[in-house]
């Protein structure tokens, strides 16, 4: 039984599938992109992401399951902080055994996959509201987030429709990823570090107005911090300026 490491990418996961398929026995999977603290285990195995292997697994999924199933697997894999790699590996195995199995809702793995997808969309929906952009000196809008799940790639469409003519970027601090939009295309890539940002002249003023607005709208006869905490979990507040982020 091995403790298996991979880089947290979809291709990495598919490469891992190939080993799994060939009989690698897995005790736990560690996603290097988000897990910094883990209990070391005696038998360790590092998966080197291999584009060709990943591509061939992708092709096989497409061939047997079609686009719908591939999409499902991808979406489920975004629920990365749930340690759901093994479920996904099992799911792909089910698919390769018999396509009928992946639509059988009495199989635990299939249910789990559906649940993962739901949670991912829920996180995405929350992020659509919680994301805060700041304006840089050249008009680019930037945002920093630390979402629970890897939803960055699912945010592009919404903001593309909303800000078609603005240049904007969303940084996922937790995963070192950035989604950048310019001239009608949205691309996700990785970043190492960011230079000191230079904000527009207007930025601080607008932030001040927003904070004042936010503080003054609460009706004091109805204050309910419990409700507020249940809606805006503490974990996302560090990225929201009305909570001092």
């Amino acid at each position: 039984m091995y403790q298996v490491f991979y880089d947290g990418t979809f291709n990495g996961l598919l490469t891992l599938y190939d080993y799994f398929d060939k009989g690698l026995e897995i005790e736990t999977v560690v996603n290097r992109a988000i897990e910094k603290n883990f209990q070391p285990y005696i038998f360790q195995f590092e998966v080197e992401t291999d584009r060709d292997i990943a591509d061939s697994v992708t092709k096989k999924i497409l061939l047997i399951g079609g686009e719908e199933v591939l999409k499902k697997i991808y979406l489920a894999s975004l629920a990365d902080s749930d340690k759901n790699e093994i479920i996904i590996l099992d799911y792909i195995k089910l698919l390769f055994t018999d396509i009928e199995l992946v639509s059988n809702l009495s199989i635990e793995t299939v249910i789990e996959i559906e649940k993962c997808i739901k949670r991912v969309f829920f996180e995405r929906h929350k992020m659509l509201g919680f994301i805060r952009f700041s304006e840089l000196y050249d008009g680019t809008m930037v945002s920093f987030i630390s979402p629970k799940y890897n939803v960055l790639s699912l945010l592009g469409g919404h903001f593309k429709r909303r800000f078609p003519d603005i240049r904007w970027a969303i940084f996922d601090k937790k995963r070192g990823m950035v989604g950048y939009y310019f001239r009608y295309s949205f691309e996700v890539s990785y970043y190492e570090s960011i230079d000191e940002l230079e904000y527009s002249a207007n930025e601080n003023k607008v932030r001040d107005v927003w904070k004042v607005f936010f503080d003054s709208i609460a009706i004091k006869e109805r204050l309910s911090y419990e409700r507020q905490v249940s809606k805006v979990p503490l974990r996302v507040r560090e990225d929201m300026l009305e909570f001092g982020g």
Binding site: H125, L128, G129, F130, I131, R132, F133, S134, E135, M141, S143, H158, F159, R161, R162, F163, P164, D165, I166, N202, K205, V206, D208, V209, W210, V212, F213, F214, D215, S216, I217, A218, I219, K220, E221, R222, L223, S224, Y225, E226, R227, Q228, K231, V232, M240, E242
Partner: protein, 397 residues
């Protein structure tokens, strides 16, 4: 006065208006513009009183020539006043919008000079946003009663939603507490919106706000009034707002805002809109809603002779009248019946909530529960737990 101070005064003054919902709109983006409506409502943050914040909700000004008794901004109050120009409001909206702080603007105002003068400034604001900034985000504007038809129509054309507050649940109360306002004028404005929508195939939704607990109307009077407005399509939503005591000279019937009553009214309103209950049904045995039990359960108990219903035979309108079964479950049940006789396991699999509904149904020709006694007891206990201060302190569950 600097913009920060103005916003502090004018957002503070606007907060008592309840319609937070940005309700979603299908507006397409302008080419080379900014913004689009989102179909599912998006909350951008939650204020300290636990309400969803999705709009820049603000008054253009809190100056007012009127003197409504329940209003903080009335002319006889000595308060700090401010005014935002159309350009300032439009700029603020765009700056907030592109930072993703908000889904759009909800603009209301005190009345300066005259209703028409005030509406013209609103129109100006809408025009700057839509034509100059090509803003495609959500826009909700208050219609000032008494404004001329042509202005109302121009605003309806540019806004996603308009509202005209009825303020108080009856003509009589309005004439006592808001002597400058006329109910006829308010209804006339709503009528203008309706006619405009019909003749232009637009679907600009309308809403209103009612202040609850400042005057003596019963729940029955309030809900049957909403029913009339819904039936005539004059309103899409009625917002009920528990009265908050802002001026000391208005005799409040309650000192605390009647939040629970507000909650029950929303539930009853929901029964009107989504369950096609009539107000006569809801109030068949009472004039005010029950505090302890939600209106649907209360109705079922009041009309216990109609139950239990056979899940395998009942039609849609009866299924949704079973406490615990909503339109979603009812539709699922009807669809599933085509494939055979339903048992309790099927209902569970479909996700039908049995906690309440099992007291009101027949399956396989048998009643599941013989008496509703323990359900009522449980519901009252739940209510006590949720509302008693002692339980809250102990955090008991």
């Amino acid at each position: 006065m600097d913009i920060v101070q103005k916003v502090a005064i004018l957002s503070n003054a606007a907060k008592y208006d309840v319609s937070c919902s940005s309700s979603g709109s299908k507006r397409d983006s302008y080419p080379n513009g900014i913004g689009s409506g989102a179909l599912s409502g998006i909350c951008h943050t939650w204020s300290a009183d636990g309400r969803c914040v999705s709009l820049l909700k603000i008054l253009m000004t809190n100056y007012c020539i009127y003197d409504c008794k329940y209003c903080h901004n009335r002319k006889s109050n000595d308060i700090r006043r401010a005014f935002l120009t159309p350009k300032e409001i439009a700029d603020l909206t765009i700056e907030f919008y592109k930072r993703n702080y908000i889904e759009g603007l909800f603009l209301s105002s005190g009345i300066i000079k005259s209703p028409d003068y005030t509406m013209e400034l609103f129109l100006k604001t809408a025009e700057i946003l839509r034509y100059k900034y090509r803003y495609g985000g959500y826009l909700h504007m208050k219609i000032i009663p008494g404004a001329s038809k042509i202005l109302v129509e121009k605003i309806v054309k540019l806004a996603d939603r308009v509202s005209a507050n009825l303020e108080l649940p009856s003509e009589k109360s309005l004439s006592i507490y808001a002597p400058d306002k006329s109910r006829k004028e308010i209804i006339k404005s709503l009528d203008t919106v309706l006619k405009y929508n019909l003749s232009n195939e637009q679907n600009n939704s309308t809403s209103t706000q009612l202040i609850i607990g400042a005057t003596e109307e019963t729940d029955r009077e309030i809900i049957s009034q909403s029913e009339v407005f819904y039936k005539r399509s004059l309103l899409k939503r009625v917002y009920y707002s528990a009265y908050i005591h802002v001026n000391s000279d208005l005799p409040a019937l309650n000192t605390e805002p009647p939040l629970l009553r507000e909650h029950r009214l929303y539930q009853a309103d929901f029964l009107l809109r989504f369950y096609k209950f009539t107000s006569d049904e809801i109030f068949s045995k009472r004039n005010n809603l029950d505090e302890l039990l939600d209106p649907k359960l209360r109705w079922a108990l009041d009309n216990y002779h109609l139950f239990p219903v056979d899940i395998n035979k009942a039609d849609y309108s009866m299924l949704i009248r079973v406490p615990g079964i909503g339109p979603k479950s009812a539709k699922k049940i009807i669809a599933a019946r085509k494939f055979g006789y339903l048992g309790i396991e099927h209902l569970k699999k479909m996700g039908v909530q049995l906690k309440k509904s099992e007291y009101f149904m027949i399956l396989n020709g048998k009643k599941i529960r013989n008496s509703v006694g323990d359900l009522v007891e449980r519901e009252i206990m739940k209510f006590t737990k949720a509302n008693s201060p002692i339980f809250k302190i102990l955090g008991a569950d």
